[in-house]
């Protein structure tokens, strides 16, 4: 016990009282540990962070109707399968053909907030519709009609009286033919935004669900629902299967193009992080080994003296290793906290969101630092045992 105390006193005295050299080693270990804990934090956080980032590339899950349409209740039931924390955007769409200036146009109605989150890459020149009577039109439609934000446009809808379906009512249709004008519903819209996506979304006009209901007189049905879910590809397929099986009327599937590129980018990013960590640890090891070699060379006389006083090789190794491991511990401790700050900084500046401290990372960082330092010290410390005690009798 007493001996242990003297041992601790010696190695701490050596570290604390001969600072210069050790500070270099401590710094190397602390930096290594910082990068380690920082990158590991990021490594585990990247899927979450990047998941959110990837959500900017649009929907990664799609609901289609088993029979033509599905209802709001179907959507609610299906969405309930996905944990709330992972839902980024839910945009149920309803499509109709309407007319503007007597020409047919495809109209989509959706929950604008949901669409905004599900398709964050949509660029809108002007504003999204935020109230009834407001219309967002695709770029192609806008150029066809020469419409700009602020313009007024009347949208008409002819309630469907389909000839094929009602062949028996053909006569009735004929009768109604001249009443068509009266049957038309119309709304005077104000164009608030022009949608620019580079895709076929530009061929539609967009209105609120409320307006669509007014226009068509029909409520509560959708053709398609786009979802943006912050989850891994595996999780997504589980959700999709569950929904397809569990919710009648809805067929859920993944937007493969998006989920696959997410997975490959993620795995590439993670292996990059892993590689950087390994390289940094190797560099730390080299730096510690170099410093330790210098320290051993610097302290040859002291080692010789200790041996002359009767120190065995084992106790020499024990003392230097003790110093090294203590240093590794201190460096790891320091690095775990600095690493968190580092990860936090990266997360805030790159992903714009903060991360929470993982307590488990503290012991892990310390253990890795201690092990890395221990391994780095092995060779230099072995050479300490080669010092000849006769050295101390030789003059300087």
């Amino acid at each position: 016990m007493k001996k242990r105390k003297m041992y601790m006193r010696m190695i701490t005295a050596s570290l604390l009282r001969r600072r210069s050299r050790m500070i270099v080693a401590l710094l190397a270990i602390a930096i290594g540990a910082t990068i380690l804990s920082g990158l590991v934090t990021i490594y585990y956080d990247v899927p979450r962070q990047m998941g959110a980032q990837f959500r900017s590339y649009g929907a990664n899950m799609l609901f289609t109707a088993v029979n033509d349409t599905f209802s709001q209740e179907d959507v609610d039931n299906a969405v309930a399968v996905i944990p709330e924390s992972q839902r980024v955007g839910v945009a149920p769409y309803r499509y109709e053909t309407v007319r503007m200036n007597d020409r047919p146009v495809l109209a989509a109605a959706t929950d604008m907030e949901g669409a905004k989150s599900a398709s964050p890459f949509w660029r809108v020149n002007g504003d999204w519709p935020s109230a009834d009577g407001q219309l967002m039109i695709g770029k192609s439609v806008a150029s066809l009609y020469k419409l700009n934000p602020g313009d007024k446009i009347e949208v008409t809808y002819t309630p469907v009286i389909e000839t094929e379906n009602s062949s028996s009512d053909e006569e009735a249709l004929e009768e109604n033919a001249d009443e068509e004008f009266i049957l038309d519903n119309y709304i005077d819209f104000e164009v608030v935004g022009i949608l620019d996506t580079g895709g076929n979304e530009e061929e539609y006009i967009y209105m609120t669900l409320n307006d669509m209901e007014k226009l068509t007189g029909k409520a509560n049905y959708y053709n398609v629902c786009e979802l943006s879910v912050s989850a891994t590809a595996d999780e997504l397929s589980v959700y999709a299967d569950k929904i397809s099986e569990g919710v009648e009327g809805i067929n859920a599937r993944l937007v493969k193009r998006v989920t696959q590129s997410e997975t490959t980018v993620l795995s590439k990013l993670q292996s990059l992080v892993l590689l950087v960590t390994v390289v940094v640890l190797a560099l730390t090891m080299i730096c510690v080994a170099t410093t330790m070699t210098a320290v051993v060379a610097e302290r040859r006389k002291e080692i010789g003296l200790r041996k002359a006083l009767g120190a065995s090789d084992k106790s020499i190794i024990g003392e230097f290793m003790g110093e090294g491991l203590l240093l590794g511990f201190a460096g790891g401790f320091l690095g775990a906290f600095l690493g968190f700050l580092f990860a936090q900084g990266v997360s805030v500046s790159v992903f714009n969101s903060s991360i929470s401290f993982r307590p488990l990372l503290l012991p892990v960082t310390i253990i890795v630092s201690v092990v890395v330092t221990g391994v780095a010290c092995l060779i230099p410390i072995r050479s300490a045992t080669d010092v000849d005690p006769a050295l101390v009798l030789k003059g300087e």
């Binding site: 007493k2 001996k3 105390k5 003297m6 041992y7 006193r9 010696m10 005295a13 050596s14 009282r17 001969r18 006389k301 002291e302 010789g304 003296l305 200790r306 041996k307 002359a308 006083l309 009767g310 120190a311 065995s312 106790s315 000849d388 005690p389 006769a390 101390v392 009798l393 030789k394 003059g395 300087e396």
Partner: protein, 230 residues
Amino acid sequence: MSLLELKNVSKIYGNLHALDNVSLTVEKGEWVAIMGPSGSGKSTMMNIIGCMDKASEGEVLLDGVDISKESSKSLTNIRRDKIGLIFQQFHLVSYLTALENVMLAQYYHSIPDEKEALEALEKVGLADRAKHFPSQLSGGEQQRVCVARALINYPEIILADEPTGNLDEANEEIVVELFRKLHEDGTTLIVVTHDPEVAEVAQRTLVLRNGKLDHETVNKNFTGHIKYNL
């Protein structure tokens, strides 16, 4: 049985005989001085007696054990248990206090005992400097710490290689006085010195030349006190 016996000991470096067929005996409790010009093999001999080096030829009996045949591991044990060393360059660990430096010898020998270490420092008159670091001590004080460290484990034999080489007369006298006390306590002393005054206080002086034992003088009126030829 003599405490130390060298029989035809040689130490050969290449074709240089640093020690050349040296034989000598030292009895328990004796105080022996070793003199000789630089390069005559004094330190080489001390290293061999101190179990820090092995003779190339011959036998070295310490307490009846032939240490020239021992492994370096058991040499470490013998050195630790039986030998106290004092060096010209003091060799204190710079980041340990005087007290801790003394305790270091205890640490490797058995168990550190702060009280005992402090007593040893008291013996060399440095109780009040226990918490000082070597850099805060004068050369004489540092050497006295070394003496305290050498005697702390009650070694059978104290080997001092030019212990006063870096000291002024006043400190030299203090150190020699410490040797005299050690001698009185029955410790065997072998002191290498260039200084005739330090050699004269010993009971016997061996003179080495070119690795050979040149001659030996016995101090007939041995008192253990240094006499200055004023």
